[in-house]
Structures are given as structure tokens and as C-alpha cells.
Symmetry: none
Subunit: 255 residues, 2 copies
Amino acid sequence: MSNPDPLPDSSNFALGRLRALLEDNPFDKEQRLPSERVLAAQIGIGRRALRRALEVLEAEGRIWRHQGKGTFLGPRPPEAHADLEELSKRTNPLEVMDVRLEIEPALARLAALRASNGDIERLLHLANKTASMSDADGRELWDSALHRAIAEVAGNSLLLAIFDMVDRIRQDATWRLLRERARSGARQQAYVDQHRRVIAAIAQREAHAAEQAMREHLELVRDGLLKVMTSPLPDGKDSEAAISANTEDQCLHGT
Amino acid sequence: MSNPDPLPDSSNFALGRLRALLEDNPFDKEQRLPSERVLAAQIGIGRRALRRALEVLEAEGRIWRHQGKGTFLGPRPPEAHADLEELSKRTNPLEVMDVRLEIEPALARLAALRASNGDIERLLHLANKTASMSDADGRELWDSALHRAIAEVAGNSLLLAIFDMVDRIRQDATWRLLRERARSGARQQAYVDQHRRVIAAIAQREAHAAEQAMREHLELVRDGLLKVMTSPLPDGKDSEAAISANTEDQCLHGT
DNA sequence: CACTGAACCAGTTGCAAATTGGTTCGGCTT
DNA sequence: AAGCCGAACCAATTTGCAACTGGTTCAGTG
């Protein structure tokens, strides 16, 4: 790969012209080349011939192209897969719960170390709000706000960003029915008690207790989720289909 | 705070009307209220008076507003700061290390449970590559590849995405000098040994040992980072300025 | 003094137009 | 027949603009 000109250009006039242009570097700082139509006209060849030359240069790694964006100098930059929707399709509720079980106990521990009295008041307020909701949507909403408030109190902006990322995936519409079934019924009171226990530990600055209480809470949530996913559905098969569709393609790691 | 109506509405006609509207909930499912101009006309008051009432409701947490979007019922949803550059400015190397200490031991544990023989071969190969590098850049590159390979083997696509997110922030140009100093010198051999220990635990499927070995490794890395950040710099003050600039504004949580 | 109405600023959304690379096809030159 | 060109499409992306939104100021009014 140290050879700057690995392919013979004898049969290709356009390649020579292009290589000359690349060395002159008459383009803007952003390393962007003119569009194919303009470039073809400048060189004086057809677009198809130009594209064949560009294919060679791309294979050599000297340029990279993307539909709708343009053609650029240098190696292809890594894909920033901050894309939320794509990630939602590739993961599944069980993975999300595993991640929450890693992240949120740590957040509770940190929160216990840094919470001010005002923070604790706010957490209690949110816990009461969650408990007072009668419909599933309301519970979901305020529960999410409570967990995020704990993440805020923890005081690590990067962990907070990670929590938000997970939370946004968790609220994906695909798993809506699943979540409603998982947190319906008798577990609700247990959740309320566990919330209070977590906040009490934070209020008394007992870091380890807060971490453990949050872990127990999330384990119960996960158990509820598992029960819903494994048991047959009495009515409505949409959520079933959604789950299986998501769990199917869970084993595709990047190269 | 269990009081649903904490403030007296006697001096404010609009507040009463608004609270009544909120309970009727005649709005669309997205919990979105009409625009201020429309709402003011409906109630029959001016926009300024309406806004004062909305301020109260927002302070109570019943609604939230955002310029250009609208006014909504329920608690304020988390900001979607998927912006990588902005996040890089708001966090700092210590936060990143704290997060790595939460994430990567868990990844090592999961990797120990799921690694195939091929995976282990690949990890060993990367560890040898890392150890064989003579320059700091090369070590950095292969070390990063090794840690990511462990994250891949763990088999949780969401955790992998989080790892990538942290890794991209970690490689931010701002902290480049800092990282080079942190991993220079005598620690290098210790890092190599720790890598081998982590991989050995993964190879023998000892999940807890793998988690602990990774934790010890990252704690050593963090200690090196701390030593570099607290000690005065013998030459070059750019990194010093960058660090202090980043650690200054680390304490700004949303309301 | 509190309130109104109007105007303006700033952030957000939605959509159509323009531009880009990717592809196919017919016709032309060699 | 092979190679090339021009034109026309397709699909992804960017750009620009109009129409909202809340945030703010200001003169006028009771």
C-alpha cells in the first residue's frame, strides 16, 4: 500500500487527470470535491467514465463518497451510530433491563453521596406523584421522571447522558404494550415501596443501601418483564409479535 | 406537597380556569395544550396574564414549556443531548473514568460468560499487539481495539453502543496530551499484565474474576490520570488549561 | 397598578426545491 | 461488439423558506 499509483492508468485517461487534481488540492478546506456532474464537465469526460475512475480512487482509500452528501478526500470517517431508531431495532427489552441493572444502582449510590436536602425533597415529591397516578400512562411518566431525577442528583453528566439514551430507547413505542402489562396489577404497590426505600437510603447518605435498594427494585421490574414475555398472552397478539421480532436479531455484533 | 393546590388562586382568575381545563383534559393524546395565543382567547384573558398562570403551573411541575415546541402536560422530558461535541465540553476525564469503571467490568463479566474460543484467540491477539507497540499512539490504538473487542464479546448491543459513545468522547482531541502522559512510562508493563489477567479470566469463564481484574486495571488507569492532572506540568500548558476549563463547569444539573 | 393588545425576537417544525451520488437506458463513435 | 456519452430517473441529503411556537418588550387603557 506504499505504492502511490498501484493501478496502471494507461487504459484510463480520467484517472490521470483525477490524480493530478487530488495532488493540487484546489478544493475547499472541508476536503470536498465538486459534484460528479461538474467534475466530469471540468475534465471533459462523461459522468460514467468519471465514476469508474472515482471507484478506483475509493477502493484505494484516497476518497470516500456518500449519496446525497458528496465526494470527499481522505479515509471514510466512522459511522456515528447515535441513531436512536436503528438502535431500538437492534436491541430488546432484556438487554435494556440488563443495562439499567448496571447503570442505575451506580447512579443511586452516587446520588446518596451528593444529594442536597432540596434534591431529596424533589425526589419525594416525584415518588408521591408516581404513587398517586391511577392510570398506567401517568405512572409511567412520573416513574420515568423519578428515575431521571436520581440520575441528575448523581452529578455525573456523562452517566446522565447514558441514562437518557437508555431511557429514550426504553420508551420506544414498540414495547409499549409490553411495559404496560409488566407494571400492571399487584406489583404496583411493591414498586412504590421500593422507590421510597431507595430515596430513604439516599436521604440518609447510605450509599451502599441505596445501590442495593435500586438493584432490588430493578430486579423486580425485570422479573415482571420476563414473566410477561414468557407467558402466553390472553388477548391481543401484537405485543407478542413485536417481542419476537426484536429478540430474533439480537446477535449481530459489528465486525 | 401532597396538596394538589398549594397556592391560593384567589388573586388570580386565570389560574382557576386553567386548573379546570387541566382536569377536563380536552387536549390531544400527546398531552399538548393549545398555543398561548389561542388559549388566552379561549379563556378570555390577555396573553400576559395567561403566561403568569402558566409559570405557576410549570413551577408546580404540572406542565412544561419549550420555545418553538409548545406547552405540554406532565413532567419535563429529558433533553435529547445526543450531541457528542456538546457532551465532550460538559464532561471531563474523571467522569469518563468513573463511567468506564461502571461499564467495563460488567462487560468483562458478560464476556466471560459468552466468549467462544475464537473470541478468546482474538482478544489474545489484540493484547499481544498492544504490548508490542513501541510508540504511545500505537499503544492507544490497539488498547482501544482490545477494550472494544471485549465489549463486543459481551454480546449486549446496547452496552456496546454505550461503550462506543464513551470511547468516542474519551478520544476527544481535547484530552490527547493528558492521555499520552497518563499512560507513559512504568505503568505500561502493568497494563499489559492486567490485560492478560482479564483475558485469562474470560478464557476460563470465571466471570467474577474477569470483572474484578478489569476493575483493577481501570483503577490503575484512573490513578495514573489523577496523578497527571494534579501534578504540575513540566512543559506545555495547553493541556492544563484544557483540563481546568473542563472541570470548572461540571456542576450544572437541569432544574 | 394590573392588564391588554400589538409588535418583535428566537427556537422549532414541516415541506418543497435543489443538489448529490447511484442506476438504467438508448444512441453514438470507434 | 465494445466503449463511451447524454439524458433521464431514483434515493439520500442539504438547503431555504413559511408557518408556527414560546419569550420579551412596549405603548396604551381601565
